[in-house]
Amino acid sequence: MLGYVVRRLLGAIAVMLAMSAVVYVLFYLMPANPAQLVCGPKTCTADRLAMVEHSLGLDEPLYVQYWHFLSGLVVGRDFSSGPSVLHCPAPCLGYSFQYTEPVLDKILEALPVSLSIVIGAALLWLTFGIGAGVLSALRRGRWLDHAVNVVVLGGFAVPAFITSLLLLMVFCVYLQWLPFPSYVPFDEDPLGWAQNLVLPWIVLALVQLPPYVRLSRSGVLETLTEDHIRTARAYGLTERRVIGRHALRGALSPLITVAAADIAAVLTASMLTETAFGLPGLGRLMVQSVNQIDLPMVVGMTLLIGFVIVLCNAIADVLYAVVDRRVRVA
């Protein structure tokens, strides 16, 4: 177990470093100059630009910039803010050009929002995806099976930004059942939290649904042919128990891995949803930062994504081993 943790950690660090290096190089190659953006639309003369570049450390060669970044991770960094020096303590992911705040703070601020969206959505897409999958497996070849297929694909085919607006129209404007989404922290008002997030959950879940329907459908079909299912039937267990307990468990455990990867990816890939609903999560932060060429922000978020991916994979491994006792974490 210890070996496992160590190896996972090393893997995470390798992945994160590689990703940050790629981002640095990519941004270095981009024609747009972040200093120009900071400097302002009408005001930037060449010498002023040079000053801004210097104050942001962009006048240094790429490898020096990257080195500063790496050492900042370990020992922290200092930034000049004018009258005083701002200290960014040890795991310093940098200091955002645009927000003039430590990148880590910004990320930690957006994280709860994204987590709220993703967790709720994941619950939805898992329950409905699996439910629909099981249902269509049990009714395979019948009209219900086809109907599920068409509905799921339909939800998938309409882009998230359109579904979002449609749902807003229906639930917030015409029916007025829900408030226009805005983020309410869970610990302040759990009910408000859920009310505000239910639409984003639905939209995100629709996008994520299809693979789950298919995987659980084929998983159930496959497990139903397995011998232990026949055993369960032969010993007089009710059909509900046979399906609900024995068939599902086997069919769904492979989904853990898929779900973990998806949840990690969606954490930052839900920008269309976040943008459409105006929720200040990581996805939106990412798009904004990319648009504003806020390099420290982008690098920081990339690192976070790398970390989350590796973390989620590790959790999935452990969880899988818990669910399926034949598997050992090694």
Partner: protein, 546 residues
């Protein structure tokens, strides 16, 4: 009426896309209370289909069941689902062939037994668990109270089969249907399980329906035998008479094809002294299990030395996990030994790099145990057999086809089936394909890793005959791995016995079987089922004493 099971004119049809397949055709039999009936027959004769029908397990599948099946007063074909469900497990229970897959890997053994118990009684969780411990203890699981929370994969095959029997016992059924309960197990374990069933039967008075393709297994465990072929009952009668003096031709053939420890062997005397074709010198194979850090190692093969003489057939026996496959794979260099040497015709091949090895590959071939996994399901068999030739540069498809078809004929397959996919062949046929593929390069050494253990007796006999015939035809040296001592005896000139990665005994076949010295060899031999019911009873009594 004292019949607990009564079957009249049972017909089972399977609807497939290719039409209907009649698996059982007008079968009738009765099973009296406390009696034991054996259903024997070759693969596909409809044994399992019949057994499943007794529990109404064809409901909701692609099978149509006709006729009358009456179990403990319930007419199954007319009963409601709920009635059938109540019957299952509580009054009639079933033990399946493959203990590996018959239990749900996601739940603990105790959980599964308790679940069954609770499905038929109003027992509390606690009571159900206690019951699980009780029945596990009854079937001889040591420390049942502790092992009740174990998961199926933590049990050995024999233990799993015991657990399944425990599950069957939990509600004290009056009928036990056992569909090939020991086919997947070692001889020694098989004997234990059969003894256990026998014991329980005498103790509780339940009736037994034992389905098996192994006539010898039936011999020692049932009162009456029903021989099936193609869905029909061929012969039926008391075990003694049917097995010792079968009246039907088919039964006679079946009985004849059973490999026996006591059958006469007519092996041609070898012209001695033969020089060794392959020498295995103190090879080890260690597998790492667990993580790199904990570094536990499994010595799968632990210091084996042996010679394979040119022209001979060397048998390798031993129970499951003793390292037979690992040794076989090292001999053809699918595995690189951890240490030790393997000399083939004087060349050291144990550490030879893959590139140089390729030239030698044609001389070293292998037939695999599992006919399902050894053929690529997505390629035609002709393609698979021709491949080794293609690798060696033959590109003329006509020549390839001719050669392969010739070979197909030699192994007894229809050459016209060149373009067929593996799933269209039976197990025995697939094994023939595997043999053809191994022979296409005319190897000097053919290692057969349990080539017949997945096959039923009659097919087994065919394949063994085929191998013997090919041996002379192709001038082969044979290494024959098996766990079935009788089969090994038939095939080989010399035998080595393996246990826990080591050779415990070796010698000329007749000598070793006639006069085993190592206690392990003795126990192996003692566990082999015998065809004579009387002798079987004696053996059981002896085993009981030990």
């Amino acid at each position: 009426m004292s019949d607990v099971v009564s079957v009249r004119d049972l017909t089972i049809d399977f609807r497939t896309e290719g039409g209907t397949l009649r698996a059982v055709d007008g079968l009738s039999f009765q099973l009296g209370a406390g009696r034991a009936l054996g259903i024997v027959g070759e693969s596909g004769s409809g044994k399992s289909a019949t057994a499943l029908a007794l529990l109404g397990l064809h409901r909701g599948t692609n099978a149509t069941v006709d006729g009358h099946v009456e179990v403990l007063g319930t007419e199954l074909n007319a009963a409601t689902d709920e009635q059938v469900r109540r019957l299952r497990g509580s009054r009639i229970a079933m033990v399946f062939q493959d203990p590996l897959s018959a239990l749900d890997p996601f739940f603990s053994v105790g959980d599964q037994i308790a679940e069954v118990y609770r499905a038929h009684t109003n027992a509390s969780r606690r009571a159900a668990r206690a019951r699980a411990v009780q029945v596990l203890d009854r079937v001889g699981i040591a420390e049942a109270a502790r092992r009740v929370d174990a998961f199926p994969h933590e049990f050995s095959g024999g233990m799993r089969q015991r657990a399944l029997i425990a599950m069957a016992l939990s509600c004290q059924p009056q009928v036990l249907v056992a569909d090939e309960p020991t086919t997947a197990l070692d001889v020694t374990v098989q004997a234990q399980i059969l003894d256990l069933i026998h014991e329980l039967r005498t103790e509780t008075g339940m009736a037994l329906l034992l389905v098996t393709h192994d006539l010898a297994v039936a011999a020692g465990n049932v009162d009456e035998v029903l021989v099936m072929q193609g869905g029909h009952a061929v012969e039926r009668g008391p075990a003694e008479s049917v097995l010792t003096e079968p009246s039907q031709g088919y039964t006679r053939d079946l009985v004849a094809s059973i490999p026996r420890l006591d059958a006469p062997r007519d092996r041609p005397a070898r012209e001695s002294p033969a020089e060794p074709l392959m020498r295995v010198l103190d090879v080890h194979q260690h597998f790492r299990i667990g993580s790199r850090l904990t570094g536990a190692k499994l010595h799968a093969v632990d210091g084996v030395s042996l010679d394979v003489l040119r022209g001979e057939a060397l048998g390798v026996v031993g129970e499951s996990g003793s390292g037979k496959t690992t040794l076989a794979r090292m001999m053809v260099r699918l595995l690189t030994p951890t240490s030790g040497q393997i000399l083939f015709e004087g060349n050291e091949i144990s550490a030879m790099p893959e590139r140089r090895l390729r030239a030698l590959r044609g001389d070293l071939q292998m037939v695999f145990q599992d006919p399902v996994s050894s053929l690529n399901p997505r390629r035609t068999i002709g393609d698979s057999i021709a491949d080794p030739l293609r690798v060696r540069g033959e590109s003329d498809e006509k020549v390839l086809r001719r050669k392969v078809q010739q070979l197909l004929e030699q192994v007894g397959l229809d050459p016209e089936r060149f373009d067929r996919y593996p799933h269209e062949f039976s197990g025995g046929q697939r094994q023939r394909v595997g043999i053809a593929r191994a022979l296409v390069l005319r190897p000097k050494l053919l290692v057969c890793d349990e080539p017949v253990s997945a096959l039923d007796v009659s097919t087994q006999a065919q394949v063994i005959r085929l191998l013997a015939q090919l041996r002379t035809e192709f001038d082969l040296t044979l290494v024959f791995v098996a766990h079935d001592l009788a089969v090994v005896r038939q095939v080989s000139d010399r035998v080595v016995v393996m246990r826990s990665g080591q050779v415990v005994e070796s010698g000329e076949t007749d000598e070793l079987y006639g006069n085993p010295t190592h206690p392990y060899t003795k126990s192996l031999l003692a566990a082999v089922p015998v065809l004579d019911p009387e002798l079987a009873r004696q053996r059981r009594a002896e085993r009981g004493k030990v």
